[in-house]
């Protein structure tokens, strides 16, 4: 059987059309979910930043009023600053602790499995649960840490009631919960490293610290790339532990952007304002992710 060039072209075209249809059928459920629960909400956000009302009465176009309100709102600025400060404390801390634990896990000859399970237990808890666990541990009256403080002769510390301590305390709780996850992530990266390179480096007389800086860190770049981006996206959304522990207090020292968004809808019913703040968060995370991708790209 031979085909004329024209028939050939026609069949090829039909084949391509069929593959395209099949491909979209395979992508279908995800594309529908994507359209309904991501695309429409994002477009809705953008439109709402130029409108007011909509809860009781019909929405009204107000131009840039919401944007002006958001940028001049002191609590909005506080919430952005709190969220950024929190992320800047929590992310490097959890990465360093997790890296040390991963290196230790990678070095030991046996006993790794139960240790990994134990380290992972905090990660399995909802943030609210982790938060409540630490209200016990940190409680001024009966918390174990304050027993220690009193035993040493100090005054009990009110970790969550102090404007300078509350945000670092929340960061600490999130570090406790996140350490297991990042340890496993870094350990997976470490176990994948080529052993031969290390032998060569050792023969060249490179010490452990030098090997870590010159070999391990660069080789782990794909892991770090994922880690930095994922941690940024997750941490800038800080909500659960703040909601459960301080509700933004004391004196707004722990109000996060997500908490303020939540309040603007469920407490004040100011959708335009909440939408603008939300849209800002979306843009910030997108830009940061783009920047990180650029900075951590593979320079070949």
């Amino acid at each position: 059987m031979t085909l004329s060039p024209e028939e050939h072209r026609r069949l090829a075209k039909r084949y391509r059309r069929r593959t395209t249809l099949t491909a979209y059928a395979f992508l279908g459920p995800n594309l529908v979910a994507f359209a309904v629960f991501l695309l429409i909400p994002v477009v809705w956000l953008l439109v709402s930043t130029f409108r007011t009302g909509g809860v009781l009465g019909p929405a009204e176009f107000v131009g840039l009023d919401n944007w002006r309100d958001t940028f001049s709102d002191p609590l909005a600025r506080t919430s952005i600053r709190n969220t950024v400060v929190y992320s800047a404390m929590a992310i490097p801390t959890v990465f360093i602790i997790a890296m040390i634990l991963a290196l230790a896990l990678n070095a030991i000859p046996r006993g790794g499995a139960p240790i990994r399970v134990a380290l992972y237990l905090p990660t399995l808890q909802p943030a609210v649960v982790a938060a409540f666990i630490f209200t016990f541990v940190l409680h001024p009256d009966f918390g174990v840490i304050n027993y220690a403080v009193r035993w040493l002769g100090g005054d009990p510390i009110n970790f969550l009631g102090d404007t300078t301590l509350a945000l670092p305390t929340i960061a600490g709780i999130e570090v406790w919960r996140g350490t297991g996850f990042w340890t496993m992530m870094f350990l997976a990266g470490l176990t994948a490293l080529p052993g031969e390179l290390y032998h060569a480096a050792e023969l060249d007389g490179a010490g452990a610290i030098r090997r870590f800086i010159r070999l391990t860190l660069p080789l782990l770049r794909p892991t770090f790339y994922f880690a930095v981006i994922f941690a940024t996206i997750v941490n800038l959304q800080l909500f659960d532990s703040v909601f459960a522990l301080t509700d933004g207090g004391p004196v707004n020292s722990t109000v996060s952007v997500s908490l303020y968004i939540y309040r603007s809808l469920f407490l004040f019913g100011d959708i335009g304002f909440g939408a603008t703040l939300s849209f800002l968060l979306v843009i910030t995370v997108l830009l940061l992710t783009g920047l990180q991708t650029y900075l951590l790209r593979d320079r070949k």
């Binding site: 429409i40 237990l121 790339y225």
Partner: protein, 298 residues
Amino acid sequence: MTAMSTTEHKTRGADASKGRARSGLPRSRPAISLSYVILFIGVAIALVPFLYVVSTSLKESTSLFSYPPDWIPSPIFWGNFESLFADHPFVLWTINTLFVAGAVTALKLWFDSMAGYALAKMEFAGRRGVALLLLLSVAIPISALIIPMFFVVRYLGLLNTYWALILPPLANPLGIFMARSFIVGIPDDLEASARLDGASEFTIYRKIVLPLIRPGLVVLGMFTFMLQYTSFIWPLIAVSDSDRQVLAVGISGLQSAFLQDWGLLSAGMLVAAVPITVVFLLVQKAFVFNDLSGALKE
């Protein structure tokens, strides 16, 4: 690169579970001892707070303030657990959480493996565009979408239903890229020969692709389940009926409803920790984390 890595980290995973020194370096004795010390401290910090919760849950709240604190309650007090199950829909919250997390995980594994197959193996018009769009949306923070999501779900008439909890998480695109990174590693010849035998794409997906990527799907499944089990802000908003609520939100309500009943609260947290821990223990042998970071390579 990705082609190699899929098969590679399977063997690494096997190594890791045997607990050998992986990168083949003979480690010095002091380095190993130091590592054990560090890990001991790490494990202590991870676990001691749980012991505190166990201890608190077995005490009457009045004896909490005794000084010095007794770590081992005497007599053991079971009232917190009794009141937890008798006065609160705790069993219901647990069932809801497991049901919602299980449903989301099952649907995501199915949809993501199909989408991943299309992106990894099919040539079609708009492939790059779709991939880019989905990749961009990985970086959209979900908690910034709670307001529009609330109105979308209300418009669909789904507020306060299980659907409100199950459907929106399906839009998270991260799993598609993980699934794709598993599937890219499957040699093209396998599908090509099946296609010559007249197998449809769906048959190839079901009979060839799915069995081959099962280890990866276990990781993706556990990851999805965990995210879902711990999710808080969306259930808090989407469901107001206490009987349909999930554990995380239910527990946070225990505190405000019965101001500072620490014994009850810690009993609740303890019981809430059990299901997810069991699930994790069941799959943890198969849990190779590299699969996660593999998703965003390239």
